[in-house]
């Protein structure tokens, strides 16, 4: 039967579709140069082309499309944050995510699973109640639930009776979802390339020509390109690129480690997060259990893994789901997180006039992919900072107006 499909593969009636730009020379000039071909970079290009009719765009990617931190996150989509600015921003992102598969004509495997965070202390319950009220007020579905409801949602969860961490309550976020992270980058890039955007992979930016406070050109390992403006969307190396443009960012880069088990039959529907154990888990549609936690204890520009972190993730997750002790790990990996002092992103204008920032994405970048692309595109096209991202400008730190986002990391709060 599978061989029967081969005839379609070789048939001229069904030619293979090429979604992305075939390898070709860089032009001398582009209106917009996007540095970084991950989900964010591709999304900016997509929305510029779709809503603003700007298609003279080059996306420069030093590796391959979506091969950086877009492919290294744990694919969690949620909006149950704590600040009004954060909740509103991520809420809009979740709305866009719902329709992306249809919009792309390409399946991003979006699934509305719901996300459950667990509380083991009175302090945690108080913060959950706070988050639930902020969320509800802003139209995001979050509620505080008790042990019986938790048991119904996740029958296999160890509620910790008589143990060190008895689970007292949960924050149930019905809007929580997952999506395939690679497919999100591919979908945006496909939509952008179909509209005339050029995606240049294996093209590393080596320098930026800034004169009189304006960016003139971008130097790459394949030659220099002039640009009308440029935007950096390079999670994990934001500070290094900003240094090329001649300014500092309020960022430190930490590794973030995760791991995944072999596939098993579907037994865990919601995403479950245990802030007290610094661990969270979800089962993918393939059946693998994805297990993630907090960032490493000190900064590093490396995607190496450590046994200590894997041990701590393993012991924590067995506290929640003891049966996982019988499972085999399939893969483990590390991403790089650009952590900001207030756990909020840095988006918008930079000290260089026509150079835009899409940075500081710490552990919250994937879920923001569509909305950051849409708002950054609006900024680039119109020159005005959209209201949704006004609170996230880098200059907020100079005015001591941080957006203190204590709901940022599923594992850390």
């Amino acid at each position: 039967m599978p061989f029967g499909l081969l005839k379609y593969g070789f048939s001229k009636t069904y030619p293979a579709k090429h979604h992305f730009t075939p390898r070709k020379d860089l032009k001398k000039h582009y209106d917009v140069v996007i540095i970084g071909g991950g989900g964010h970079g591709a999304a900016i290009a997509y929305y510029l082309a779709k809503y603003h009719g700007i298609t003279d765009i080059a996306i420069l990617e030093k590796g391959y499309l979506g091969g950086g931190n877009t492919g290294r996150n744990t694919a969690v989509l949620r909006a149950n944050y704590m600040t009004e600015e954060g909740v509103t921003f991520y809420r809009e992102s979740l709305k866009l995510y719902r329709d992306l598969s249809n919009e792309f004509d390409y399946n991003i495997m979006w699934e509305n699973r719901g996300q459950l965070s667990l509380a083991t202390t009175d302090a945690a319950i108080r913060s959950f109640r706070w988050r639930a009220e902020v969320n509800k007020h802003l139209g995001v579905r979050s509620e505080l639930i008790g042990r019986e409801e938790i048991r119904k949602l996740v029958p296999l969860l160890n509620l910790g009776d008589g143990g060190r961490y008895p689970i007292l309550a949960g924050l149930w976020h019905a809007d929580g979802a997952i999506a395939r992270h690679d497919a999100v980058a591919w979908g945006f890039a496909k939509g952008a390339c179909e509209r005339g955007v050029e995606l240049h992979q294996l093209t590393e930016v080596t320098g930026l020509d800034v004169e009189h406070g304006r960016i003139k050109a971008v130097q790459t390992n394949r030659g220099t390109v002039q640009c009308g403006c440029a935007v950096q969307a390079v999670a994990g190396t934001s500070s290094l690129l900003a240094a090329m443009a001649g300014f500092k960012l309020p960022i430190h880069t930490y590794p973030l480690q995760a791991m995944v088990t072999q596939p098993y039959k579907p037994i865990l529907d919601p995403l479950v997060s245990a802030p007290h154990l610094h661990v969270y888990i979800q089962q993918t549609s393939r059946g693998e259990f994805v297990i993630g936690g907090g960032s490493d204890p000190y900064p590093l520009y490396s995607t190496r893994s450590t046994l200590e972190m894997k041990e701590s993730l393993s012991s924590a997750i067995q506290e929640l789901f003891p049966f996982i002790g019988q499972m085999c790990l399939l893969r483990q990996w590390t991403g790089m997180t650009d952590m900001t002092p207030d756990y909020s992103p840095i988006m918008g204008l930079s000290p260089v006039e026509n150079y835009y920032l899409d940075a500081g994405w710490g552990t919250w970048g994937f879920k923001a992919t569509p909305i950051s692309g849409k708002t950054m595109a609006e900024l680039i096209a119109t020159g005005r900072v959209p209201d949704l991202i006004k609170p996230f400008g880098v200059d907020r730190f100079l005015r001591f107006e941080q957006v203190n986002e204590a709901g940022a990391t599923a594992a850390g709060h």
Partner: protein, 96 residues
């Protein structure tokens, strides 16, 4: 297991230590502008290479300085803060 050579306690498991941020020279709090202070508190070069950092040995409450490569995670050198800070830093009160 990653080992940190502590100037006080010798080589110890790095999990006994806490990272304390890059060593940066503090602007004078009495004369610096609010922007200079924000720059000092929040902004950083965050370089890929050898960086001078504060580290703290939790068990003995001992602060020291380490030069560490932020790409390879190699600890090049560790030493007591007295090598850099020869004098006590005084926080003078602004005259009223």
């Amino acid at each position: 297991m990653k080992i940190m050579p502590c100037p006080l306690n010798g080589p110890r498991n790095i999990s006994e230590f806490a990272y304390g941020g890059e060593v940066e020279l503090m602007p004078d709090p009495n004369t610096s502008s609010s922007e200079e202070w924000a720059e000092y508190v929040f902004f950083s070069d965050n370089p890929a290479g050898v960086v001078r950092e504060w580290w703290y040995h939790s068990a003995t409450s001992y602060w020291f300085i380490a030069e560490r490569n932020t790409v390879t995670d190699e600890i090049v050198r560790t030493y007591p803060p007295s090598e850099l800070f020869k004098e006590r830093v005084e926080f003078k009160k602004e005259s009223e």
